[in-house]
Structures are given as structure tokens and as C-alpha cells.
């Protein structure tokens, strides 16, 4: 992510069009397309975890339902709301940049980053709670039967998925903070908004991943 966004960003924010491009429009199209291709690879990075989840859930349907009930649905739901809201805010921030409303954009970006941090902090609490409940596979996993095996497998995936996702949130927050600073310095505006747009695309993808994580990890077997 870093290499790409920096590269794309530098290409987009450079005062002149890079030598390989004919004009700014071509450069912008290239950067946008590059970001979308990158997002496709991100989906497949997460896809491995989702595929593993699907297969293991097919093998242990009831075990996964039991395991899912160990997660904190209230936290999960609030976290989802937080990410959805942050997604809206960053979309509005890009809109503000395009309208040269720099102060508004900085505020919106700061709020987005704050929501991202909120998400991470809440997740930290969740991890702590699971630690106290001995739900850490391989390190400290003590669950009474029934279905301890499947519960352990579920939590393997739980940590891989949420950990990998939190890594993305962390990177996103950093990128957004950098963006906010640069918007404050009026680097971007109605004539140059590729970098803000690409940052937002990335953040939306992080949100989309969570939209699927939420029902798959938190909502299985809630009714049973």
C-alpha cells in the first residue's frame, strides 16, 4: 500500500505532469486505474482468509456457531457503525477538497482518522477481553468441550482476519493524517484531487472488508 500510494500520490501531486504522460488527465486516469487494480489485489489478499473461513465453516458448521457466540456482538456492531460513518466522512472530505473548502476537508479528514482510531481502540478492548477468556489459539487457549477444536480454528481465523484488517486500518489512519496535513497546506484543490480520491478509495475498501467480516465473525449462531 505505502509504496503504491506514495508513488501514485507523488505522480499526482507533482507540480508538473510526469514525463511519461501526455497531460494531467492521462496521469489522473492512470493513477485511478492503478488504485482500483490494487484494490482488486487487496480483495484477494483478504480472500484467502475468507476462503479458508468458508471451507472450515462447511466442515464445522455448529462449531463455528458456538465460537461466534464468544465474540462481542455489541462491540462488533458499534465498530461497523464507526467504519461506515468514517467512510461517509472521507467521501465528504474528498467532495470538500474538490470544492476548495480546505477547512471543512481538514475537519472531515481528522474526524475520519479519529473514527479509525476509535475502531482500533475498541478492537484492542475486544482482544483484551478474549485474552482474559483464554481464547488465544496456540498460546493460551482453554475452552471446555464441546467443539473446542472448531472454536480454536474459528479464533485462528478471527485473529488473522481482524489482525490483517486492523493493520489496514492503521495504515489508513496514517495516510489520512498525512493527507489532512497536506490539505491544510492547500496542496490539493479543485484542480488537483487525485491523491485525496485514492486515499478515500483505499479507506472505503477497508470499510467494505469489514462489512463482510462483521456478519461472518460476529453474527453466526446468534439466534441458536
Amino acid at each position: 500500500m505505502n509504496v503504491l500510494s506514495q508513488n501514485v500520490a507523488l505522480a499526482a501531486s507533482a507540480p508538473m505532469v510526469s514525463e511519461q504522460y501526455d497531460d494531467a488527465r492521462q496521469q489522473r486516469e492512470a493513477a485511478t486505474l492503478g488504485m482500483w487494480v490494487f484494490l482488486a489485489t487487496e480483495i484477494l489478499f483478504f480472500g484467502v482468509l475468507f476462503a479458508s473461513y468458508t471451507i472450515l465453516r462447511v466442515l464445522y458448521p455448529q462449531g463455528f456457531a458456538v465460537a461466534s457466540r464468544h465474540t462481542d456482538m455489541l462491540f462488533g456492531t458499534i465498530e461497523t457503525g464507526v467504519l461506515l460513518s468514517s467512510s461517509c466522512l472521507i467521501a465528504l472530505a474528498v467532495r470538500a477538497v474538490k470544492l476548495d473548502q480546505h477547512r471543512v476537508a481538514v475537519w472531515l479528514l481528522s474526524a475520519t482518522a479519529m473514527l479509525g482510531v476509535t475502531f482500533l481502540v475498541m478492537h484492542g478492548f475486544e482482544y483484551y477481553k478474549e485474552y482474559t477468556e483464554h481464547l488465544i489459539p496456540g498460546i493460551d487457549f482453554k475452552q471446555p468441550a464441546p467443539r473446542a477444536h472448531a472454536v480454536e480454528l474459528f479464533f485462528c481465523l478471527y485473529y488473522c482476519i481482524t489482525g490483517f484488517h486492523s493493520l489496514h486500518v492503521t495504515i489508513g489512519v496514517i495516510v489520512i493524517v498525512v493527507l489532512a496535513v497536506r490539505v491544510k497546506n492547500a496542496t490539493f484543490g479543485s484542480q488537483r484531487y487525485t491523491y485525496p480520491e485514492l486515499t478515500a478509495l483505499y479507506w472505503h475498501l477497508v470499510d467494505i472488508v469489514w462489512i463482510f467480516v462483521y456478519p461472518l465473525l460476529y453474527l453466526v449462531g446468534r439466534s441458536g
Binding site: V3, Y21, A30, L33, P137, L153
Partner: protein, 539 residues
């Protein structure tokens, strides 16, 4: 013909991309796609000979049924290193990262790729991953085989699996970023009149291969990351002792590693599609069908991975689905072979070294492909899989196919890249030697496999010895044939005649600039016409 217009060329060495900023620092910070291609070529050549050294150990060990040269442990580490290095550090980046990097912008009339800085970053990732692989060797090697099957790789192997897995993970990012770069380049940086159906087929294959790299490599990277985590934290997703499923690993692994075969062979098809029309002096037969077949291979190639798992304990029904898909994906490959052959008809064929490599490619690739068809039939795959039949099959495709095409491409574009002509006689001799050495090495392995000799065997029944000795004899010829080009190509840099801008009188935009090209690729705007317009005079 080959030097006819050398006299007309205006040698302008001061403007070439080789000149200008000299020095290590200038090269290591370059953003010029042509210099990055040279950097890749150096890395790839190094890894090719490293992997080749491992292959030499393997073949020498197998001369005797008891395998007396190496211990079983060293042998296992040798074939693992051979596989890992040849697949990820030679074959995958070979044509795309060298010839692709060099030629793609030239062929579409662009000044560079879309993200030059990213391009350089890819090279650093590739080298960094390679260093991890070499470090794993220095630390004592890895004994899992390049396929890292679980639970052996996660719970049983005591070797440096972690290091090599990290190496492949890192180099995977190089692959992904190169693919991303190429896709964006082809979409946005084509010259105004360079429409999709005027693109040389090499560019089409670069586009297809980029799609595969972008869509498959992430799956490998994450799967290997999970392997690393299983070793570190005993996660158990792939470990049956903890309720996981080892076949899940195989599915994820082959979801990448089968399309990876197309990463290796599609660019080779692209190179051959450039060489043949040039030396036949004719348009390629069925250009449109060639593009459709490239796309068909790309997409359907993602739906056949289960044919690696017919005896692995996969459901019988899944095997049948993957089997029919594997037969289907063979059709577009067959079309390509027929079209290349049909291109020869009514031509005026000359047999310079690149053409010899291309013809060798067709023969060897066809044999590899047809035996692949036998392996796609699950009833035949049962006795043949995991034997030398499979080893022979994929070496025909990857070495007989990809490496022959890579060398053909290097010879074809060498005058463009370096501005020098190599010794045609030596080049032809090497190509012919390679063809025979290759067949002597690998054809006996088909018979060995049919007789039932399993692969990855450090020692074997005496019954198999005659064919193994033949194979090792072939390998020594092959090794010599691979060393020859290094010698005469390097010699040409010193003593070769000036090549001129278009020594083969080829079409394609890359031949309209100087040899070697200037840093900005074109000093004057090239003229775009249909690809392979050999029935019209060169512009």
C-alpha cells in the same frame, strides 16, 4: 539481410539509455524501464545459474541408483532450492520483467511505464526476496519441496521454511506491482493510433500475464503467510491434528501455482508470435483468434487448479469438474500452435538463431502440452502423477517452452537492446545443441514416469538406471548449451558489429528507434500501423 541497413543507421551512442548517467548509483536509482530491465536480467541470470547448479547436483546424484553423491537430506534440499529458485526467481520474472519491461513501452510508443518509481521498487522487492531465498540456503537449506505441502512444511520440517516463505512472499509483491504497472501502462499510455487490435501479440500476452500476476499472487502471498504463522504460533488451519485441512492448503496453493504456469508460458507465446512473422516475412495467421486464445487461457487457467489433486483425497466430483476445465483450457493452446504453423505457409523463411529457438519452442511446447492433456484425464493421472512423467511434462512446458522462448527473445532483441550483433554461427549452434540436449534430458523421464519412478527420489530401483543415465548425459549437454550464449553474447558487447536500428527488417515500433534506444525511447514519433505488416515496406 541481417546487416543490410546497418550502414544506414546513425550510430548515436551518446543518446543511448546506456550512456548519460554512469555509475552504480545512477543505475540503482534509475527510473528508466530499460535500465530496470537490465537490472532484472542480471538478477535473473544469476538465479538461473544458481538453480542450474542445484539441478546439476540432482542429475549427478541420480546417475547411480543408490544416489551416492548426496545424502538424502542434501538431495531433498537441492531439489527444493532448484524448484523455489527456478519458479519464483527465474521463470516468473524472466520474460515479463526483462523483455516485458524493456519492450512494452517501446512497442506501444510510450516514454516509460505508468509508474516508473514503482517499477524500480519491484526490482528491489525481487532482489530482497531473492536474498531471503539465498539466506535460507546459507542457513542450511529447506527440505519441503517448492510446494510446501502441509502438514510436512508446518509441523514436521526442521529446516528454514520460514526464511524461504518470507522470500517468496516478498518477491510476490514484485510480481503484483509489475503486473499492476503493466496493466495501467497498456490501458493509458498507448500512442493515439495504437488501438487494441493493432497491439503486437507480445503486448497482449503481457496484459494477460499481468492480470494473472495481479489476481493470483495475493492468494499465494497470504497462503504462505499462513504457513509462516502456523510454524510460529501453531494455528492449525492446515493441520489435521488440530482439525484443519491439508487439502485447503493445496487448493489455495494451486489457485496460484497453476495460473503461475501461464505466467511462465503466456509471455513465451508472445515472444514466439513476434519472432515467427519476422523470419517468415508474413503477417501472423489469425491475429484475432490469437488474442482470443490468450484471453481464454488467462481466464480458464484459473479454473483448472484441482487437476494437481486428483489423487490427493479430493472429492471425485471436484476432480471431474477440474478435469473437463483442463481439457477446455487446452483448446486455445492448440489453436496457437496451429496458427504459428499456418503462419509458415506461403512465407519466405530464413533460419536465424531466434527463428531456430522459436521453432524449437513450438515442438517442445507441443509435446509438453499434449502430455499435459494425458495428465488432465484423471484415469491416466492416477498412475502418472507424482512420477517423472509429470516432471518431464512441466519441464517440456517451462524449460522447453519458456526458456527456449526467453532465449529466442534475448537473441531477437539483443541488437536492439545493446546495439551489437552476436555471432550468428555460435548462436545457431547453441540453439541446436540446446534442443537436442533438452530432449535427451527430459524425454527419458517420460518413460521413467510411465514405468512408475516417483519424483523427488534420492535413490531408486536399479531398473530405472539406464534411463536416468541417459537423462543425466543430456543434462550435461544442456548445461553446456546454456553456458554458450553467456560467452558469445558477452563477447558481442566487446567485439560485435554495430547492429543498426532494424537488423531483421522487422515491423513493430521498437524497431523504429535507434539501437540502443535513447533514454526517452523515441527521438521522433514512430509510425503506427497494423501489427506484423510484413507485406508492406518498413516505415
Amino acid at each position: 539481410m541481417s546487416t543490410s541497413d546497418a550502414a544506414l543507421a546513425i550510430p548515436s551512442p551518446s543518446r543511448s539509455f546506456w550512456n548519460g548517467d554512469y555509475g552504480l548509483r545512477a543505475w540503482l536509482t534509475t527510473r528508466d524501464h530499460k535500465r530496470i530491465a537490465i537490472l532484472y536480467a542480471l538478477g535473473i541470470t544469476g538465479f538461473f545459474f544458481l538453480g542450474g547448479a542445484a539441478a546439476t547436483l540432482i542429475r549427478v546424484n541420480l546417475i547411480e541408483p543408490t544416489g551416492s553423491l548426496l545424502t538424502a537430506e542434501t538431495y531433498n534440499k537441492a531439489f527444493t532450492f532448484h524448484g523455489v529458485v527456478m519458479v519464483w526467481f527465474f521463470l516468473i520474472p524472466s520474460i515479463p520483467a526483462t523483455l516485458g519491461n524493456f519492450l512494452l513501452p517501446l512497442m506501444i510508443g510510450a516514454r516509460d511505464v505508468a509508474f516508473p518509481r514503482l517499477n524500480l521498487a519491484s526490482w528491489y522487492l525481487y532482489i530482497c526476496g531473492g536474498l531471503f531465498a539465498v539466506a535460507s540456503l546459507l542457513a542450511g537449506g529447506v527440505d519441503t519441496g517448492w510446494t510446501f505441502y502441509t502438514p510436512f512444511s508446518t509441523m514436521f520440517s526442521n529446516s528454514n521454511v520460514f526464511l524461504v516463505v518470507i522470500g517468496v512472499f516478498v518477491t510476490g509483491f514484485a510480481s503484483i506491482l509489475t503486473g499492476l504497472n503493466f496493466i495501467v501502462t497498456i490501458h493509458t499510455l498507448r500512442m493515439p493510433r495504437m488501438t487494441w487490435y493493432r497491439l503486437p501479440l507480445f503486448v497482449w500476452t503481457m496484459y494477460a500475464v499481468s492480470l494473472v500476476m495481479v489476481l493470483a499472487t495475493p492468494v499465494l502471498a497470504m497462503t504462505l503467510a499462513l504457513i509462516a504463522l502456523e510454524r510460529l504460533a501453531h494455528l492449525g488451519i492446515f493441520d489435521p491434528a488440530l482439525g484443519g485441512d491439508p487439502l485447503l492448503f493445496q487448493h489455495l496453493f494451486w489457485f496460484y501455482s497453476h495460473p503461475a504456469v501461464y505466467i511462465m508460458i503466456l509471455p513465451a507465446m508472445g515472444v514466439v508470435s513476434e519472432i515467427i512473422p519476422c523470419f517468415v516475412r508474413r503477417r501472423i495467421f489469425g491475429y484475432r483468434f490469437m488474442t482470443y486464445s490468450i484471453l481464454a487461457i488467462t481466464v480458464i487457467g484459473f479454473m483448472v487448479w484441482g487437476h494437481h489433486m486428483f489423487v490427493a483425497g479430493q472429492s471425485m466430483y471436484a476432480s471431474l469438474v477440474f478435469s473437463i476445465m483442463s481439457f477446455i483450457v487446452a483448446v486455445p493452446s492448440a489453436i496457437k500452435v496451429f496458427n504459428w504453423t499456418a503462419t509458415l505457409r506461403k512465407g519466405a523463411i530464413t533460419f536465424e538463431a531466434p527463428m531456430l529457438y522459436a521453432l524449437g519452442f513450438i515442438g517442445l511446447f507441443m509435446l509438453g502440452g499434449l502430455t499435459g492433456l494425458m495428465l488432465a484425464a484423471p484415469a491416466l493421472d492416477i498412475p502418472l502423477t507424482d512420477t517423472y512423467f509429470v516432471v518431464a511434462h512441466f519441464h517440456y512446458v517451462m524449460v522447453g517452452g519458456s526458456v527456449m522462448a526467453y532465449l529466442g527473445g534475448i537473441h531477437y532483441w539483443w541488437p536492439k537492446i545493446t546495439g551489437k550483433l552476436y555471432s550468428e554461427g555460435w548462436a545457431r549452434a547453441a540453439a541446436i545443441l540446446m534442443f537436442f540436449g533438452f530432449n535427451l534430458t527430459f524425454f527419458p523421464q517420460y518413460i521413467l514416469g510411465y514405468e512408475g519412478m516417483p519424483r523427488r527420489y534420492h535413490s531408486y530401483l536399479p531398473d530405472f538406471q539406464v534411463l536416468n543415465v541417459l537423462s543425466s548425459a543430456g543434462a550435461s549437454i544442456l548445461a553446456l548449451a546454456y553456458l554458450l550464449p553467456v560467452a558469445y553474447l558477452l563477447w558481442s558487447l566487446r567485439a560485435g558489429a554495430a547492429a543498426g536500428n532494424n537488423p531483421w527488417n522487422a515491423r513493430g515500433l521498437e524497431w523504429q528507434t535507434t539501437s540502443p534506444p535513447p533514454k526517452e525511447n523515441f527521438l521522433s514519433e514512430p509510425i503506427v500501423r497494423e501489427a506484423y505488416a510484413y507485406d508492406e515496406p518498413a516505415p
